[in-house]
Amino acid sequence: MKVFNMSSAKGKKVNIYLIIGAVMTGIIVVMAIVGIFWTPYSTTAMSAKERFAAPSWQHLFGTDNFGRDIFSRVMKAVGTSALISVLVVAISAVAGIVLGAITGYFGGVVDAVVMRIVDAINGFPSILLALVIISLLGKGRQNVVLALAIAFTPSFVRIVRGEFIRLRDADYVVRARLMGVAKPRILFVHILPNIFSTFWVSVTIGLNNAILAESGLSYLGIGVQAPDATLGSLLSDAQASLASSPWYALAPGLTIVWTVLGVAMLSEGIGKLKK
């Protein structure tokens, strides 16, 4: 009965999620990009006179225990954090698509084996798993990315696999088979574009989780090593002076919250756009 689904066409609704999300994410992206080329102060310039200075017009977010400008350090850290999370999601999303497509479409033994491995990985909390991998591979930026990518892959595999199972017997896929379309082409040309709306949501959620997971690792001291900084490592450094100079911890902390919220709003907004 179509009657009940008629949309209320009271003019186009303003997609508030999309606007706010885009603005919030945009600020972070601009900060990260500018941070690559220019920061107000050098991130390594120390100043004994200005140790633990409170936020002021000279130092927007104040200075740290070495008298370094926290705003400049956050700008750099955002870039590193974002790069890591994008890489993590990119790697695990591609792995998820390939594994999910194959297991979902073909089923059978391959499916059973791959999915049990995926289950096994899923059985560990992702941070714990990353810890184990890093302790095996050693610290360093690449290893953080690799460890988190392995930990993040299972959720993508599950989502892609579910969608492929749903679509593998759709009429248009059966027709493609009848035309004699080769299997890889069916998987990646015929089916894949149809799962993107679902996949997109998990990608944005994945981005957020990756930022948080990386921060967690850095906080535990096994993430990116000094003098490189990420939001998590800044937070970790700030811990010692939490009572005396709370702005040190607040700056990276709020930036994490801001980023995660912005990306979440953006994905919500894009999701609404599709409907």
Binding site: M1, K2, V3, F4, M6, S7, S8, A9, K10, A170, D171, Y172, V174, R175, A176, R177, L178, M179, G180, V181, A182, R185, H190, P193, N194, F196
Partner: protein
């Protein structure tokens, strides 16, 4: 008894029902017929006071035996409506699976009507149960005690619809609204339900509003017809009058489009030279793997098509008719080689035969443009044969040429499937099947999801393409009237077995198998 006067209903400014007036007398069965979106269901739902909240009643009144039920501009009296619903008027929906509550047993569900509207008439629960059982018997159910204690999923579709009808008639309402009550059911069950509704009407002299898109069905059951189009009633009169002498152009078009023996479009009898079959099926058994429900149980092979044995010759249409689940689609898949779990022989003497599916909404990839979809079979052929027969330009040319042949034009080349109507999509579907020039097409209910006039157009297209290319069709349908129109020969299937196969007119004039007779009873 019931009078609807100048009713207009709009959804966000768009008129769904536009100034209709209707009177229904006791004992009358009024058929509301028309194509999807013509406002049939909205009218019925409004009458029940079930109009969706987005709907606005702009003008009009609805009177029921002198009581004003609804009036435009006046807030509906929900209490009054509730007292009428179930008691005075009731509704039968299309889908018996979703309109019964799956978590409640059938008996208590029907009993609820009595509890709500006539609690005081019964002294005890036993008495009410007795009444429910009587009603269940009255709608032709056997073993009513068992039905009473069954959950909806334990009953067949026909039984569920009977239970639904029992629920609708238990309080002897003056008006029963049936919204496509048989559309989800198999043909033979459909016949039984129609008979049952007529019996109830004869017994209780209540009036009925029968909503349907199936004009053959409307003709069999209704005494009066209202033909609706775009929210308006274009023609109103007795059923026979409208069928024999339609006044308006639209009604004429609609009735001319109804397939069946009486339709002039199906009168052509062609001579077909049957020398070399294009498809030979010999002793074909098709199996279906069924996982055992036990943890370590073996998967069972279920035979869904037994000893199929037939052939199709170039240029002819073989109609395949049977109920849902009789193995029609399994047979198709076996012929096309999608299901390899078969024994027996399938011999095809043409390039890859193609298939046209029932649902035009799921058979086109929603993320591709129409042009891409039409070209894909050509690309696939090239890749498959490792040749470069088609360049980008020839592909595009062929796609546009095909668009024209199926009655669309170049404009559609860049459109996406969701921008097209159901009929247009089915045309694209047919084009996609034809572009590699196979001489055999398997059409699985290709017009079942379409409105009757669109159905007519698509059938015409299939016929003209058949003539042009000398195509052979295996045409599957549950609708015997459509089958009659397109087929040269007809094959009747039930529970995986081919009961009868023969020349169309011979089969219609002289059906041998009792099941065939039952099927033909409604043509």
């Amino acid at each position: 008894m019931i009078s609807i006067d100048n009713l207009t209903i709009s959804f966000s400014g768009k008129k769904a029902v536009d100034g209709i007036s209707l009177q229904i007398e006791p004992g009358e069965i009024l058929g509301l017929v028309g194509e999807s979106g013509s406002g049939k269901s909205v009218t019925a739902l409004t009458l029940m006071g079930l109009l969706a909240s987005e709907g606005v009643m702009e003008t009009g009144t609805i009177d029921f035996n002198g009581t004003c039920l609804l009036k435009a501009g006046v807030k509906p009296d929900q209490k009054l409506l509730r007292s009428f619903r179930g008691d005075q008027m009731s509704m039968i929906f299309q889908e018996p699976m979703t309109s019964l509550n799956p978590t409640m047993k059938v008996g208590p569900q029907i009993d609820e009507q009595l509890l709500l509207h006539a609690k005081d008439d019964f002294k005890s629960a036993e008495e009410r149960k007795k009444r429910v059982l009587e009603t269940l018997e009255g709608v032709g159910l056997r073993d009513v005690e068992k039905v009473y204690d069954s959950y909806p999923h334990q009953l067949s579709g026909g039984m569920r619809q009977r239970a639904m009808i029992a629920m609708a008639v238990i309080l002897h309402p003056a008006l029963i609204i049936a919204d496509e009550p048989t559309t989800a059911l198999d043909v033979t069950i459909q016949n039984q339900i129609v008979k049952l509704l007529k019996e109830i009407r004869d017994r209780e002299q209540n009036s009925m509003i029968f909503i349907t898109h199936d004009l053959n069905l409307a003709r069999r059951i209704c005494t009066k017809l209202a033909v609706m189009k775009d929210g308006k009633i274009v023609e109103l009169g007795s059923t026979e009058e409208i069928f024999t002498n339609p006044q308006t152009d639209y009604a004429k078009k609609l009735i001319a489009a109804v397939p069946g023996r009486k339709n002039s479009k199906s009168a052509v009898h062609r001579e077909i030279e049957r020398i070399e079959p294009i498809l030979t099926v010999k002793d074909l058994n098709v199996f279906y793997k069924e996982r055992s429900k036990k943890l370590f149980g073996k998967t069972e092979h279920k035979c869904v098509v037994k000893n199929a044995d037939f052939e199709i010759y170039p240029g002819e249409t073989l109609g395949l008719v049977g109920e849902s689940g009789c193995g029609k689609t399994s047979l198709c898949k076996a012929i096309l080689g999608i299901n390899n779990d078969i024994t027996g022989n399938v011999k095809i003497s043409t390039v890859r035969p193609q298939m046209v599916f029932q649902d035009p909404y799921s058979s086109l990839n929603p993320s591709k443009s129409i042009g891409w979809l039409l070209e894909e079979p050509l690309r696939a052929e090239d890749i498959l044969e490792k040749s470069i027969k088609y360049t980008k330009e020839t592909r595009k040319e062929m796609a546009i040429d095909m668009l024209r042949r199926v009655g669309l034009d170049e404009y559609y080349y860049d459109r996406m499937p969701h921008q097209l109507s159901g009929g247009q999509r089915q045309r694209v579907s047919i084009g996609q099947a034809l572009i590699t020039k196979p001489s055999l097409i398997l059409a699985d209910e290709p017009v079942s999801a379409l409105d009757v006039t669109i159905q007519d157009q698509v059938l015409e297209l299939l016929e003209s393409l058949q003539e042009e290319y000398g195509l052979a069709y295996l045409f599957i349908s549950h609708d015997i009237n459509v089958i009659y129109r397109v087929s040269d020969r007809i094959m009747v299937m039930k529970k995986g077995e081919i009961l009868e196969i023969g020349d169309r007119d011979q089969l219609f004039d002289n059906p041998k198998h009792p099941y065939t007779k039952e099927l033909l009873a409604e043509s």
